[in-house]
Amino acid sequence: MALPKYTEPHYRIWHYIYLTICAAVFFFLIAPLFVIFPLSFNAEEFLSFSDGMKRLDPDAFSLRWYKDMIYGTKNPWGLAAKNSFIIAIFATIGSVILGTVAALGLSSRHMPYKGLIMAVLISPMIVPLIISGVAIFFFMAKAGLAATHTGIVLAHIILGTPFVVITVTATLSGFDHSVTRAAASLGSDPVNTFMKITLPLILPGVISGGLFAFVTSFDEVVVVLFLAGLENTTIPIQMWTGLREQLSPTILAVATCLIILSTLILVTAELLRRRSERLRGINR
């Protein structure tokens, strides 16, 4: 953003103040994440930079906490990671199927009571998590599903579907319905049309909705805190307990892994978003 040459001095000053503010806000947003990175390689059991680390002494850094995370005795992280992935994968599959099918119905011109139904479908995203947690806990306790994987998966499907519904409806808003009519006129049945025509076109939206659902489930802690028993512990629960009881550097090692995971998800989501924007651009 170069300023034109004729800019008056005081506007020039304002412009630089503006850029400084922006830089400060970006720093505030992103810097906290990068604190975790070096500290997770700390050779000592402190959560601040040791003198050795400040001098960049190689002895002050170690993989000790990563080893502890993987091989540590009585270590909860293995079980937690396994549970987290299982729950997140099943919750994502459930959310994507239910959400995509519902989005197809919602974007039909003929859908009755669209506003009301949309409000119900989106509500788990708007209602504060603590209230969702209480309500879902009451249901699961009655259904005998508290402290089971099934219960947690169902809870995460509830929380994940709004994201799928929103992303898929958005993708469908740019969808040219004449292609499905063309397929039908050529003798294709609705299921075949969906699999061969609609799905490939809306796939970017479906996948990015699925990513949202995956992350929602993988990070979710409030509802799981109500539902989980010892057997169903997840990564967020272990982090929560760890942060409450004692902040050990092992948590930072786990956090670093999570940041790497979220970077991967971010890159995938961005690529998909651009692809879908390109596709929609062609359609218009």
Binding site: I21, C22, V25, F26, F28, L29, I30, L33, V35, I36, L39, L47, S48, L98, V101, A102, L104, G105, S108, H110, M111, P112, I117, A119, V120, L121, S123, I126, V127, P128, I130, I131, G133, V134, A135, I136, F137, F138, F139, I158, T161, I166, T169, V215, L225, P236, M239, W240, L243, R244, L247, I251, A255, L258, S262, T263, I265, L266, A269, E270
Partner: protein
């Protein structure tokens, strides 16, 4: 009749209008069938349980069912003086039954909610009741403890007779029904819930304001920079957005601790003395700082998506018509961004008002919000009906905001990333 026109028929001989309506109806059913699985799933697992919360929050059958004879006998009691032998005898009958079922503990917990002091006298009564002789229960019960001879305690029992009660809602507002049946506030030093409601509103409000003040300039920068730079900077917004909430909270716990980097920095530039490091965590400051950073992306993204649609030529036109850059900004650009501001502020406010994890970890005692109190009653005191009542009070607040959001922005216009 002259107005009679010839009906248009389809090839099957059915009037076109009927045939179209039929097709329309079929399409409606088809569309609805697609939505139905998710809709019914959510209604069963989510909407009904929230209704269940409403029921639990007013349900007070437990005591009603534990002391059926007592309440029947109490119907003739005016509540002025101690009840007569009939009530005492009925209470004795009910109580013996409860002791047989080992449920008298539950009764004492329930009655203790209504009036403090029931726990010990019920324990004493259970021990004494084994030696009770038949007849004249009034004398015998009253001799167990002087509180049993206090009419206040009998009135407290009577207040639990109805099957439904709004008492939990009153408690959530630090009010209660006093002996005369009037709604009054509790003493000033015991008003914990009002403080929490106000603090929740205050923190949610200021977090929204801070987020807005920080998000506006960077959203503007992102929207006006050339694509190749803005994509790079967008990562700074999206990476925190996709990163686990607990990871971000953990990083603030490291930064804000007394020996942490922020304090080191303050000491380094000589702002505070090394032996006088301020406490920045486990108080309101911690909640403010961490919540603002965590919710900032939710403000940036809607603002950005609105600003992206504003043509830069509008600002140039404003300037060419003689406005200074500030006037052009204030009169042209800012009004156009108002939909984005509305969306972002409401989104952040809704999220902040129900925040639980971050305040619980960095908020300490003075930075916790109403959600923490709900979780406390769910997990520690197990007063689920009170937790439900407070949850629903919070929910009704959020629904009002949601409704506003829908009016201003429309829920179909929510954009993610």
């Amino acid at each position: 009749m002259s107005s009679e026109t010839k009906q248009i028929l389809t090839t099957d001989g059915i009037p076109l209008e009927v045939s179209l309506k039929k097709a329309e109806k079929k399409n409606k059913i088809k569309a609805f069938l697609l939505v139905a699985p998710l809709l019914f799933f959510l209604i069963i697992t989510y909407v009904f349980p929230i209704g269940d919360m409403l029921f639990r929050s007013v349900d007070d059958k437990m005591v009603t069912q534990m002391l059926p004879k007592t309440f029947k006998a109490m119907e003739n009691w005016d509540g002025q003086e101690l009840p007569d032998e009939e009530v005492f005898a009925a209470f004795h009958d009910d109580f013996i039954k409860l002791v047989e079922d080992k449920r008298e503990g539950k009764l004492s917990t329930q009655l203790n909610y209504t009036k403090n002091g029931f726990k010990s006298i019920i324990k004493k009564l259970r021990r004494a009741s084994k030696k009770f002789e038949e007849g004249n229960y009034k004398e015998q019960i009253m001799s167990v403890h002087k509180r049993w001879a206090d009419v206040e305690y009998w009135r407290a029992i009577q207040r639990r007779a109805p099957e439904f009660t709004g008492q939990k809602y009153l408690k959530g507002m630090d009010m209660y029904v006093n002996e005369e049946g009037k709604i009054v506030s509790v003493e000033e030093d015991r008003r914990i819930h009002r403080v929490l409601w106000l603090r929740t509103l205050e923190i949610a409000f200021f977090v929204t304001v801070f987020c807005f003040l920080m998000a506006y300039p960077i959203a503007h920068l992102l929207a006006t920079l050339p694509m190749k730079y803005s994509n790079l900077l967008m990562i700074c917004v999206l990476l925190p957005f996709w990163t686990s909430l607990l990871v971000r909270t953990a990083s603030w716990m490291i930064l804000l601790q007394q020996q942490g980097i922020v304090n080191d920095f303050f000491v380094g530039i000589g702002l505070v003395a090394d032996d006088n490091r301020p406490e920045m965590m486990y108080n309101k400051t911690g909640s403010y700082v961490a919540m603002t950073q965590i919710l900032l992306p939710f403000m940036v993204l809607p603002l950005y998506s609105v600003m992206k649609t504003i043509s830069p030529s509008l600002m140039r036109a404003g300037k060419s018509l003689g406005g200074t850059p500030f006037v052009a900004f204030w009169k042209v650009y800012f009004p156009l961004t108002i939909p984005g501001i509305g969306a972002g502020c409401l989104l952040v406010f809704i999220l902040a008002i129900g925040y639980y994890i971050t305040p619980a970890l960095v908020g300490g005692a003075s930075g916790t919000l109403i959600s923490n109190q709900i979780a406390f009653h769910m997990k520690s005191t197990l007063d689920w009906s009170f937790a439900s009542a407070m949850g629903l009070m919070l929910l009704s607040g959020v629904l009002v905001i949601y409704w506003l959001y829908n009016k201003i922005v429309g829920i179909d216009n929510i954009k993610l990333g």
